[in-house]
Symmetry: C2
Subunit: 119 residues, 2 copies
DNA sequence: GAATAATATCCCCATATGGGCATATGTCAA
DNA sequence: TTGACATATGCCCATATGGGGATATTATTC
């Protein structure tokens, strides 16, 4: 075995900074590949690749207009992300106390100092 | 250049399915490495590595108890994820019409049928 | 049809990294 | 001190994949 193939889910797709930048740009409206490339400041061919990944994960969609392709956000693909995050935080709030974080921080600091651990 | 090093941000950390599983489990409370390994069904050594990644990104924290280590969620690390997602969807809602998705779907389907494209 | 523009692909490279395995490190109990 | 248990690390491998450059593909215009 080796590194697992992960580019098949939205979470991994969003893991790449460049792709997040692309999404941020697209969030402001339909855009051209060229425009995206300029905005993200990287070669067009690379942007096309990132767009392909985003398409496969359905975070993005596109339509042809002349010899141009207008890319846009596909809301459907974003839902899973929101859902997971929401459920995660819900579970957390349900199982962790409010003061927990604060207490843990103090505790961790104290321990670190006492034992000379790096923080 | 080559593949960019990305394991330095929470987004990438969450990109891995196993790590998400670990987070899901931890969301229900402090847990032992061993327990996590059993829950996620993968070797302890691997879980330790994933935990290390999650720690570096501050999605997780731990404290020693005897010869055991209790891992817990670190809420602070989750905030960036929520923030980005929220801002993204906010921007989208601000720039995309409600009917857009529906219209685009119809359009895409029609075009595909017309041109014999795969969908 | 030829030339040009916009994208997508293909090929190649470098490396990050998920996973497996053995071992080191640390802690507690007898 | 020795032994057992819990974790973390180091080493190695296989591969996914980000990035670069050139080329194929498709559409537009003259």
């Amino acid at each position: 075995m080796a590194r697992a193939a992960t580019t098949t889910d939205a979470f991994n797709a969003v893991g790449d900074p460049t792709r997040r930048a692309v999404l941020n740009k697209l969030a402001t409206g339909e855009t051209t590949v060229k425009a995206l490339a300029e905005h993200v400041n990287c070669p067009q061919s690379l942007v096309s690749k990132h767009l392909k990944v985003l398409r496969e994960v359905e975070l993005v969609r596109c339509r042809s207009v002349g010899r141009t392709r207008l890319y846009r956000i596909d809301r459907a693909g974003i839902t899973p992300l929101q859902t997971w995050l929401t459920e995660l935080t819900t579970a957390i709030n349900q199982h962790y106390d409010r003061l927990d974080d604060y207490i843990q921080t103090l505790k961790a600091d104290g321990d670190a100092v006492r034992k000379g651990e790096p923080r």
